[in-house]
Structures are given as structure tokens and as C-alpha cells.
């Protein structure tokens, strides 16, 4: 288990205007995999390095298991090499002057609990076997491909059976096909060993695929956290909704509240939406609609369609994205069928799917103070 309280880190320097990590509270239950997800520069790596002990925090406490790892207030700081961790670095950090198996043996021979050569080699081979690299054991590390090096680095992090596994964008240097394979491998090994894991990524699909829980970060703070499917299905914050790729957003007003669901009136019509928080009747909301939840048809058979015209389309291989102008907003609709044969200027009806759009309370409208707050956060 990892427990983090009020973690704060500011890098020194004249040009630094804000904390890289700004008061993070987090607990990661035993045996779970939690991803830190957020845009570039939001402080994911810094958080991970603080947990690993590679950076010293300015404030806050970190516990691994029941042991206090660091508490600047009390002057406690356990060095990296005394922490029960395994780290996989973004750049792999596989030592080029050693073979694969020597890399994996290193923690067993140089770490806190040391063992003899034969025992270390046996355990290292087990770890290599687990990541499917046993046959490459005696290759010099630089003679391995990127994906193989990444798996060596995973095996190395796991051999000494750490309490906690820390992964910093472990897949970002791999090509698309390999990324999926290594990702599945990491998840399966993690679940098999039941090891508490922090996984840093900026890719929402990757995060959804591997995590028990997703922590969304921005500007060094936690925006929201939750189970992968909840974060995907019904994000609570606009930032999350946008970051998860829900690109259509329309202003609306709550007509009728209800349990988890509300009837919202929009400029073009009414829509039943999910509501992550209680939405009082009459309050202003922003409605986020996934492109896949907007269907296009030439005829308005259901009577709920919004009339618009096609602006342009983009082909993605397995789907088409149509950009349709409805009134003065541009909506994106994703169609997984064969090309519907729509071209620029064609009139079309946009039919929103019920009960999948998300209505999030509009903070700008809610209070003037919030307006200033928001402006500031964008200005940064």
C-alpha cells in the first residue's frame, strides 16, 4: 500500500513560478494498479520520483506499507536504495555494459538483501522467463530491441520482489503494435503477482486498459480519481471530459432532475443525460457528448434529430469523423459503418443517443469567483 499526504514539490530556479506537485493526497490499495493520467508537464513524473525517493519533497508525507518513507517536517527521509520499490524508467535505463541477465541480477547482488551468483542467476532467469526473454538472457543489452529492453527493465524491477512497482510511461518509446503487447504483459504480470503499482501515462486509452483506478492530474493537482469505467463513462470534471476525448460540448439548462440522470434542454432540443453530481432544476450545465453517441441520418425518422449541414469528413480506417454544423456550433460525429456517402454541404440530421451524454455543472455560470479562478488556471 502507498499512502501520500499533502505532497508538494517545487523545483528551484528563478523561472519556476509554480509547484510541480501541489499538495497531492493519494492512497493506493494493496495489490492495485493505479495510473496517474494527465497532460504533459502536469507533474506525473515528479510525483512518481517523489514516491521512489529520487526527489525530496518540500512538504508532505509518503508511506509505503506501514513504513514512513519521508516527512520533511520531521526530518525523515529514507534513501532510494532503502525503499522496497522497483522502478521502470521511460528511457528503459538498461545498463549497456551488462547482458540482459546481468541487468536483472543486479538488484539481487547489489541490493539490500544479497544472494550468491547461482541463486541470483536462477531468480533472474525466472524473471526473464516471466517476461518471455529467457532465450535472450546472455545478449549484451544494447543488442536488444526497444521492446525487449523495456521487458528487461520490467524484469529487473520485479526480481527483488518489491512491495511497490513504479512505471514512468513504460510504453511511450514503443511502436503501436508492441505497445499493446507490452501493456498486456505488464498488466498480466502485475495481476499475477498482486503487486501495488503506480503507472504514469499521458495516454487515456492506455490508462483505461491497465488500471484498477485512474487518477487524473493537472497543474500538479489531482483533478479527480475513480475506477476506469466510471472515469470513462461519466467524468465529474470538465477537464477530465475534455482530456478523455469527449469533444462535443453544448451549454444547457436542467429541466428535470433525477437519480444520476437529468433532462436537459439544449439550444436544439432536449436530451436525457448522465449527471455525476446532483443537478438542481434550472441550473446551467455543459453537456458533453461523445462523437460516437451522435448518429447521422438523412431523414429524421425519430423526430429528435438536429438539422445541420456537413462541413467536412475525416477517414480513420475503422471509422469516419463527420464535422457537422448545427446552428452556430460544429459537432463531431463518429460513424463506424461504411461511408454514408455524405459530402460538404449535404443536409443531415444529427441524432444524439439518450443517456450517454454527461451534464456537468457549469462552474463559470455558478459563481463569479469561479470565473476568476478558471481564467487564472488557463492563463498559467
Amino acid at each position: 500500500m502507498i499512502e501520500v499526504r499533502g505532497l508538494t514539490k517545487r523545483y528551484p530556479g528563478r523561472t519556476v513560478t509554480r509547484n510541480a506537485v501541489d499538495g497531492i493526497d493519494l492512497e493506493i490499495p494493496e495489490g492495485k494498479l493505479v495510473t496517474l493520467l494527465g497532460p504533459s508537464g502536469c507533474g506525473k513524473t515528479t510525483t512518481l520520483r517523489l514516491i521512489a525517493g529520487l526527489e525530496r519533497p518540500d512538504a508532505g508525507e509518503i508511506r509505503i506499507g506501514s513504513r514512513l518513507m519521508c516527512a520533511p517536517a520531521e526530518g525523515v527521509f529514507v534513501g532510494v536504495h532503502h525503499r522496497p520499490i522497483g522502478v521502470v524508467f521511460q528511457s528503459y535505463a538498461v545498463w549497456p555494459h551488462m547482458t540482459a541477465v546481468q541487468n536483472v541480477m543486479f538488484p539481487l547482488q547489489s541490493g539490500q538483501k544479497r544472494m550468491g551468483r547461482t541463486e541470483a542467476r536462477r531468480r533472474a532467469m525466472e524473471a526473464l522467463e516471466m517476461v518471455g526473454l529467457a532465450e535472450f538472457a546472455d545478449r549484451p543489452a544494447p543488442a536488444l530491441s526497444g521492446g525487449q529492453q523495456q521487458r528487461v527493465s520490467l524484469a529487473r524491477a520485479l526480481t527483488r520482489e518489491p512491495e511497490v512497482l513504479l512505471l514512468d510511461e513504460p510504453l511511450s518509446n514503443l511502436d503501436a503494435g508492441l505497445r499493446d503487447r507490452v501493456r498486456d504483459e505488464i498488466r498480466s504480470v502485475q495481476q499475477r503477482l498482486g503487486i501495488t503499482t503506480v503507472f504514469v501515462t499521458h495516454d487515456q486509452d492506455e490508462a483505461l486498459a491497465v488500471s484498477d483506478e485512474v487518477v487524473v492530474m493537472d497543474h500538479g493537482r489531482i483533478v479527480e480519481r475513480g475506477q476506469a469505467q466510471d472515469i470513462y463513462r461519466c467524468p465529474r470534471e470538465e477537464f477530465t471530459a475534455r482530456f478523455m476525448g469527449i469533444s462535443n460540448s453544448l451549454p444547457g439548462t436542467v429541466q428535470e432532475g433525477g437519480q444520476d440522470m437529468a433532462e436537459i434542454s439544449l439550444a436544439h432540443g432536449r436530451l436525457r443525460c448522465l449527471t455525476p453530481a446532483a443537478a438542481p432544476v434550472g441550473s446551467r450545465v455543459n453537456v458533453f457528448i461523445r462523437p460516437e453517441s451522435l448518429r447521422l441520418s438523412r431523414k429524421d425518422s425519430s423526430g429528435r434529430g438536429w438539422k445541420g449541414t456537413v462541413e467536412f469528413s475525416i477517414y480513420h480506417g475503422d471509422c469516419w469523423d463527420y464535422h457537422v454544423r448545427v446552428g452556430d456550433t460544429l459537432l463531431r460525429s463518429r460513424m463506424y459503418r461504411e461511408k454514408v456517402g455524405l459530402a460538404h454541404g449535404d443536409p443531415v440530421f444529427v441524432v444524439p443517443e439518450e443517456e450517454t451524454a454527461i451534464a456537468i455543472a457549469d462552474k463559470i455560470a455558478a459563481s463569479d469567483g469561479a470565473v476568476a479562478d478558471k481564467d487564472e488556471s488557463w492563463a498559467k
Binding site: T45, A52, A93, P96, H97, M98, A141, R160, L166
Partner: protein, 592 residues
């Protein structure tokens, strides 16, 4: 053919002008029609001439029964059997190796130790070490040697006086230990620079991974840091060794008075003797050459697996800084000590002796004798002003030639796919492995023995040739990276606008390369200005350069004038170095 999908446009066609494709098929004549191929041929010939001639001449001289004589000449191994058979030669080998090896190890250990403190720890006031690293560029070796000889002169040396005052035995600088001390102080800053580069380019996540594996910091240093830095250490040791074994000033000024001979001083003194034994000199020269080449080859071999691997990664790279806690004051002490010993002592000694009519150790009473007369004396010393002018002329000419030549070599090796460019690249680096005494003696032999139409011996041209050869690898070091940063598209866009190749080179490459060109030029000027190890064999009456004059004045015992001249030169070179630094920083030398 797809024009858009190609991710990187093909390099400019090397074999043919695209506008006249039909002619490219005419074999050799077609090959020469492209101005770039003609250029390649010319540049390759020039570089080959510069690089191979000195070493080859040396080899020939060592294998001929007579050199430079009118009698019949035949090939023989006599010089080898005679020279290698004497005990004297092997004493010479022992001395030379002991001297060079000790210097190489000491300077590398100190240099890399300081580099580690600067690049990887939180030791305060790194400024001292960084300033000290600039010194070898500023103080010519001959002046450094003179300064140390003054500091440790047996009876009157300032430091020996000090030692005697505290009842310690005086240090005899005229010994092997003295040679090692002086030469180490002179080359340590170079090792420091190499170490700084190596430590700050190392991907620190490799060390962090070891820490995160549970290894304690000292063990991480031993198993990861030290191991990854090994190739850099080896190449530094080797470079120091080759430099030390091939430079003139310390062996001659410090070694010879104490009757400790090494290769260089033996060659020099053999050439002063009459009749000159060219064969033996040739044998010693070839021996040095072989040792230097072997050393270079060895360093490549020894660096072992992982040596050629880039340990520099882009994303996620952060240099980690080890916190030393209270120990950092010890680090600071090391900086200050190094600064004092390598910079302050020799410089202060020069300034002090330049202000006295005759040398005396620093004391209150000596203060009354302070005078600027030595600086006036510089103008009245015969030949001195001439030698300064000679130095300036040769250094500037060499700088210009090196700049032009190395930008052409860089263009051919970096930007074209012409056949033979690998060979050119190899040729241009040969001078690195040729010790400068071999360069000097080889060039001397060549121009003495060759029936060339123009007589170059005894002219400044021969000095320029030597300086160009010595400076070429350094010029390339500045220009190749600059050239590599210029995108191919820029040349292609010019060609597509209809510009001829020479015009493209002049209008596109030259302006973009200005910072690199300027740095290469100024650096070569400095190198040539300080050079003595080759120049000492090549000057004649009337073509003395300033380093040679300093040596002669020193031999005549005019220490105060030497010191005054030294101070002037140091100030002059310091200004050039400041300009180079400003240029390289201003333009970053890494414009995309």
C-alpha cells in the same frame, strides 16, 4: 514515384548534376563533371598529402642507409638494429614511458575527479574549476614550464624558499618527478574538460535505476557510474599520454638540465649535433608514431562492450546531483587548491618575475625593485618583434586554411554520399595520431630531401603547413557538428531555386556556419600561436616564431624579458579565448 510520402528527401545526388542526367553515364569523365566530385578529389589529395607525408618521410629516413647525402643510398634495417640494440635506447624508452604514463594517470585522475564534483555534486563555487579549465588555452606550454621552473628553481625558487623556511627539504624540479608535476598541471584541465563532457552527458536514469534496485550510492558509483565512464577515462589517459610523449617544452627545459632524456629531447639534441644522425632520429620518430597509433587503437578496443552505445537519451533525461552534505566543503577545498596550483601560482610567478630587473624570490625587500622596464625591453630585444609578427602571420594563415579545408571536408563527409568520403574522413583524423615532434621532423625531412620546384625550407610556408596539419582535426571538431545541424533541405531548396553548387555553398552553408567557422578559425590560431614542438624543428634564421624565441631567450638566461613577454601573450590569448567563448555561447553552436 511518390513525392509527398517520402519522409526524408533523398540526399543531393552525388554522382551527377540532376539537370544533365544523360552525361552522368560517361564513366570517369562524367564523375569529374560534377564540381563536388572534383572538389572531393582535390580535397582528398590535399589532406592525404598533409596527413601522410610527415609520417611516411620519417619511415623512409629510418630505412635508408644515408639520408640527405650525395652518396649512394640503399635500403637497410641497420638503424633499427643499431638503435634498438643499445641500452641507452631502452633507458630512453623507460624514461619516456614512465614520464608520459605517470602524467597521463595523474592528470586524468585529478581531471575526472574534479569533473565529477562539478558535473554531479552540489559542491559550491564550481567557478574556480571552470576558470582553471580554460588555462591550457591561455598559457602556452612553454610559459607554464618557465613559470614552474622559476617557482621551483633549486636555490631561489619561490616555493623552495618557502619550503626551506619551514624546514622541509627543497623539491628538485629538474628530475623525472618534476617533469611529471609540470606536465600534469598543464594537461589536467584538458582531462577535466573531457570528464565534464562525459559526466554531464551520461544518462542519469542509469544510476537512478541502480539506486532503485537497492544498491547503496557507493556501489552504484563503482558498478555503474565508474563503469560507464570508463571509455571516456581510457581515451583521456591515452590522449594525455600521446600529448605528453610528443611535446617539447617540459623535456627540454626541465628534463635536460637534470639529464633526464626522453624521446623528444633526444631527437632535438641529435638534430643539433653534427654530423646529424638522421637514421636514428627516424627510428625514434617511427617508434613514437607506432606507440601513439597503438595507443589509439588500444583505447578503442579496451573501452569494451557498451562503449559505442549512446548513453545520452533525449526524453526523460535529467542530470542528477548528488548531495554531499558536509563533504562539499572538502570539494570546495579541492577546487580552490586546483585553481591555486594550476592557475594562480604559475601566473603570479610570471607577473612577479616580469616586474623585476633580475629574478629574485618574492619578499618585502624585493618590492622596492619593481619596475616596468622589462616590458620596454621587449621592444629592444633583437628578433623578438619579428618573431611576434611571424607568429601572427603563420597562425592567422593556418587558421584560414584550416577553416576552409575543414569546412570542405565536413561538407563532403557529412552532406554528400560521394564514394570515397569515408577515406577522406579517415585521412583527416590521421594527424591526431601523429605526435607533433614527428610532424615537425617529418616535414623537415621531406622538404629537405624532396627536389620540389619551389624551395620551402627556411620559409614561413613550411611552418604554416605544419600548423595546418596539426590544426585540421581540431577545426573539424568545430565544423562537423555545425554542418550536421544544417538540414539537407536547405541545400536542396537552393538547388531547386536554380543556384549552382558553388553558389549554394557560398550563400547557404557559409552564412549558416559562421559561428562554427569563427570558432574553428580562432581555435586554430591559438593552437598555432602556442605551438613549439613542431616549430622548434622547422624554424630557421628569420622565421622564428614567438614560442621558439621564448625558448631561446630562456636558454640565454633572460628570464625577466621572457616573463614580460609571457604576460603580454597570455593577455592576448585570453582575449581571443574570450571571443571564442562569446561566439560559441551567443550562437549556441546548435542552431537547428
Amino acid at each position: 514515384m511518390s513525392l509527398i510520402s517520402r519522409s526524408r528527401p533523398a540526399p543531393p545526388p552525388a554522382l551527377a548534376d540532376p539537370r544533365r542526367p544523360a552525361r552522368s553515364t560517361q564513366g570517369l569523365r562524367g564523375w569529374f563533371r560534377d564540381p563536388r566530385n572534383l572538389l572531393l578529389a582535390v580535397v582528398a589529395l590535399v589532406v592525404a598529402y598533409l596527413a601522410i607525408v610527415p609520417a611516411a618521410t620519417m619511415g623512409v629516413a629510418s630505412l635508408q642507409s644515408q639520408f640527405l647525402s650525395t652518396g649512394p643510398v640503399h635500403w637497410t634495417f641497420r638503424h633499427y638494429t643499431e638503435t634498438l640494440g643499445t641500452a641507452d635506447f631502452w633507458t630512453l624508452v623507460g624514461n619516456s614511458f614512465g614520464y608520459a604514463a605517470a602524467t597521463a594517470v595523474i592528470s586524468t585522475v585529478i581531471g575526472f575527479g574534479l569533473a565529477y564534483l562539478v558535473a554531479r555534486t552540489d559542491t559550491p563555487a564550481k567557478f574556480f574549476a571552470q576558470v582553471a579549465a580554460l588555462v591550457p588555452l591561455i598559457i602556452p606550454g612553454i610559459l607554464n614550464t618557465v613559470a614552474w621552473a622559476l617557482l621551483f628553481a633549486p636555490h631561489t625558487g619561490a616555493l623552495n624558499v618557502l619550503l626551506r623556511d619551514v624546514h622541509l627539504p627543497a623539491f628538485d624540479i629538474y628530475s623525472l618527478a618534476g617533469m611529471v608535476l609540470v606536465q600534469s598541471m598543464h594537461v589536467t584541465p584538458v582531462a577535466f574538460l573531457m570528464g565534464t563532457a562525459a559526466f554531464s552527458q551520461m544518462d542519469s536514469s542509469l544510476e537512478e535505476a541502480a539506486l532503485a534496485s537497492g544498491a547503496p550510492p557507493l556501489r552504484v558509483f563503482r558498478t555503474i557510474t565508474a563503469r560507464l565512464i570508463r571509455p571516456a577515462v581510457l581515451s583521456a589517459v591515452l590522449l594525455m599520454f600521446v600529448q605528453t610523449i610528443s611535446t617539447f617544452e617540459v623535456p627540454q627545459l626541465i628534463g635536460v638540465p637534470g639529464r633526464t632524456f626522453v624521446f623528444v629531447s633526444r631527437i632535438y639534441n641529435a638534430l643539433q649535433a653534427f654530423p646529424t644522425d638522421y637514421g636514428t632520429v627516424g627510428v625514434i620518430g617511427v617508434f613514437i608514431l607506432v606507440v601513439a597509433t597503438l595507443g589509439l587503437w588500444l583505447s578503442r578496443r579496451l573501452s569494451g562492450p557498451g562503449a559505442g552505445v549512446q548513453t545520452i537519451s533525449g526524453k526523460g533525461y535529467r542530470p542528477t546531483v548528488t548531495e554531499l552534505g558536509r563533504w562539499r566543503w572538502l570539494g570546495l577545498a579541492a577546487f580552490v587548491l586546483f585553481f591555486v596550483v594550476a592557475v594562480a601560482l604559475p601566473l603570479l610567478m610570471l607577473v612577479w618575475s616580469s616586474l623585476l630587473p633580475g629574478y629574485e624570490p618574492p619578499s618585502w625587500s624585493a618590492l622596492h625593485h619593481l619596475t616596468l622596464s622589462n616590458y620596454r625591453e621587449i621592444w629592444h630585444t633583437p628578433g623578438l618583434v619579428d618573431s611576434v609578427r611571424n607568429s601572427l602571420i603563420t597562425a592567422v594563415l593556418a587558421g584560414a586554411v584550416v577553416t576552409v579545408l575543414s569546412s570542405l571536408v565536413a561538407y563532403i563527409t557529412v552532406k554528400t554520399k560521394a564514394r570515397g568520403r569515408g577515406l577522406l574522413d579517415g585521412l583527416a583524423t590521421i594527424p591526431l595520431a601523429v605526435p607533433s615532434v614527428v610532424m615537425g621532423v617529418g616535414i623537415l625531412y621531406w622538404y629537405l630531401s624532396m627536389p620540389l620546384p619551389v624551395h620551402l625550407y627556411g620559409t614561413l610556408t613550411i611552418l604554416v603547413i605544419a600548423f595546418v596539419t596539426i590544426g585540421l582535426p581540431y577545426g573539424l571538431r568545430y565544423i562537423v557538428p555545425g554542418m550536421a545541424q544544417i538540414k539537407d533541405e536547405l541545400e536542396e531548396a537552393a538547388a531547386a531555386s536554380g543556384a549552382s553548387w558553388p553558389r549554394t555553398f557560398w550563400r547557404i552553408y557559409v552564412p549558416l556556419l559562421v559561428p562554427s567557422l569563427a570558432a574553428a578559425f580562432l581555435y586554430t590560431v591559438i593552437v598555432a600561436f602556442r605551438e613549439i614542438s613542431a616549430a622548434i624543428f622547422l624554424y630557421t634564421q628569420g622565421t622564428q616564431v614567438v614560442s621558439v624565441t621564448i625558448y631561446q631567450q630562456w636558454s640565454n638566461g633572460s628570464y625577466p624579458v621572457v616573463a614580460a613577454l609571457g604576460v603580454v601573450i597570455v593577455v592576448f590569448l585570453a582575449m581571443i579565448v574570450a571571443i571564442v567563448r562569446l561566439l560559441t555561447r551567443r550562437f549556441g553552436l546548435n542552431r537547428q
